[in-house]
């Protein structure tokens, strides 16, 4: 079992547990539609009641993402949302929000930025941690060391295809929470929550005391409610990104705040 650290994500989940409430984790891609909007959107998502925010770093080859986040990634790249620019602006963005921010990224941008430099600058920018989608526990040693040195959380993912042996290997490396992928596949909205999720939650509980957040395919309050019946939090990504696509131009940050508030109904919190 991991030693209990005292990061901002830990305290956020502790606070939720004390209130017997469930968490809502919201993903959005930086630079979508522009870097300037990202500041406004983060504030709106925070006001809407997100407990933790995953800020996506656009990547040219997002092979774990479905079409919605692929499009967001392309818009982000077009608007110049490099890791360096994101880290540069994050302190200003964070002034208007309290929800901890995790950088959600593929490995290559972090690798090119430099692992130690990334951890140092992320900590300086006020990020709570990172989740690197294509970094397997087997290859993560230097990354984890760099992140630990800055007291940053390293969130890892577990999938329905993860064997008990794999859960045993990856769960101890995760801090803050463990991200459960609800079903095999890429990110994106689905009509139904996979039947594979239940057994995964059960197995994950045997390997970690960390809060469990479920993502991939969670897109409305009903699904938030469904997955948080057994898990501690729901992650909504593609549905939020689609809301930005559909409603932001006309409705501005308020429309996104309302969307998050609507999703939050699924957590049972007012």
């Amino acid at each position: 079992m991991p030693t209990i650290s005292k990061t901002r994500i830990d305290s956020r989940f502790r606070e939720l547990a004390e209130r017997k409430a469930k968490g809502l984790v919201i993903y959005l891609t930086a630079g979508d539609p522009t870097l300037e909007d990202t500041g406004k959107l983060l504030a709106a998502v925070n006001r809407g009641g997100a407990d933790v925010i995953e800020l996506g770093v656009p990547f040219s080859d997002p092979l774990a993402d479905g079409p919605v986040i692929q499009r967001a990634s392309e818009r982000g790249l077009k608007s110049g949302a490099s890791l360096a620019r994101i880290l540069e602006r994050l302190p200003r963005w964070r002034q208007e929000m309290e929800a901890p921010v995790i950088l959600f990224t593929y490995y290559n941008p972090v690798l090119q930025y430099g692992l130690e430099r990334f951890a140092r600058d992320a900590a300086r920018a006020g990020a709570a941690g990172a989740l690197v989608l294509d970094l397997t526990p087997e290859e993560a040693e230097s990354y984890i060391a760099a992140m630990r040195a800055q007291s940053l959380d390293t969130v890892f993912l577990a999938a329905p295809t993860s064997t008990d042996e794999r859960l045993e290997r990856l769960a101890p490396l995760s801090t803050g929470f463990l991200y459960l992928i609800s079903r095999p596949g890429t990110t994106g909205e689905r009509n139904e929550i996979s039947r594979e999720l239940g057994p995964l939650i059960e197995r994950a509980r045997r390997h970690t005391e960390l809060p469990l957040a479920v993502g991939f395919g969670v897109s409305n309050p009903e699904q938030v409610r469904e997955v948080t019946k057994d898990a501690d939090a729901a992650v909504v990504g593609s549905a939020l990104v689609r809301a930005i696509e559909d409603r932001y131009a006309a409705g501005g940050p308020d429309a996104i705040e309302h969307f998050v508030r609507w999703l939050r109904e699924g957590t049972g919190a007012a």
Partner: protein, 377 residues
Amino acid sequence: MNQSINETIRSWPDARGRFGEFGGRFVPETLMHPIEELERAWEASRADKEFQAEFQRLLKEYAGRPTPLFHARRLTEHLGGAQIYLKREDLLHTGAHKINNAIGQGLLARRMGKTRLIAETGAGQHGVATATVAALLGLRCVVYMGEEDMARQAPNVFRMRLLGAEVVSVRSGSKTLKDAINEAMRDWVTNVGDTHYLLGSVLGPHPYPVMVREFHRAIGREARGQFIAQAGRLPDLLAACVGGGSNSIGLFYDFIEDSQVAMVGVEAGGRSPNLGDHAARFAGGKPGVLHGTYSYVLQDEDGQVHASLGRRGARRRAHASPNRGHHPGARARARAGGNCLPRAKHGQRQNHRSQFIRPRRQRLEHLSVGRHPLNQL
């Protein structure tokens, strides 16, 4: 070249799938279990006499191995330099070396109980090979191909469809091969239960690079024996074009401990040395993680990957094989006096000919090719 270094190189990859610092596994967690399963199945198949016999039988009776080694006397005379030998992989069924690996992985997929093959393809040769093997083994087949590549390679699209494969046009990103690989990965991550991803290059997460190398080893094994039989000695130099690296490593691998044999990989220099204008990963790229492996990648300073461009405008992989991240390239550079040939002569195939074939008079050379011998020089 130090003998023990060559032995080390020949022993790669290590247990983590690393070729020195290159290789490894960088994939979403959902794919880790299928990849571990694939590795176990592949290891088991290597020790399985029945599997190996079936693979060898199909290489011989279906694909047409061994392929001839041909002493190209008129070309030698015309160029006036080295004695040129061609390893005629273009004579294999489907017209390229790609079928070697497609047969190997197809048999492996069947052994694992998979009923569906998926593949990426750029020019279409690997797609055609995969579609052919799927038809041979009675498996369903889906091939991902960039929209731009489909337009350029329409006859191969026709061939794949004729063989019963579904060809999916990839419109994301640069609409070329690297995006077709992304799309194939997305399919695989979604359909891990019944699907095998038949990757056609020496890249991707371990065990792909070593597996693809092993399925293509017949090229070099045959060539070495044939060359000794015809010329009475080993060649001075091997040359192969380098795209995804399967034909070059297939040729080079069985010569690695022959320290007197130089190896040259020729990258496509395209229009200019600027990012996006060429496909010279070793000359113009730097190490990074793409498509599940750590290797040379054509990328900008933010780690964003750029499409590559070959001479005829054919977009190719933005990525070089971890197998080749070191050895053959390194040795070629050493032999060329520290200059990587592609850097010296950007993209002009004729110039390569004159540069490293002409000046080396009296030398015995031999060239392996994936498809059309002369075009590939």
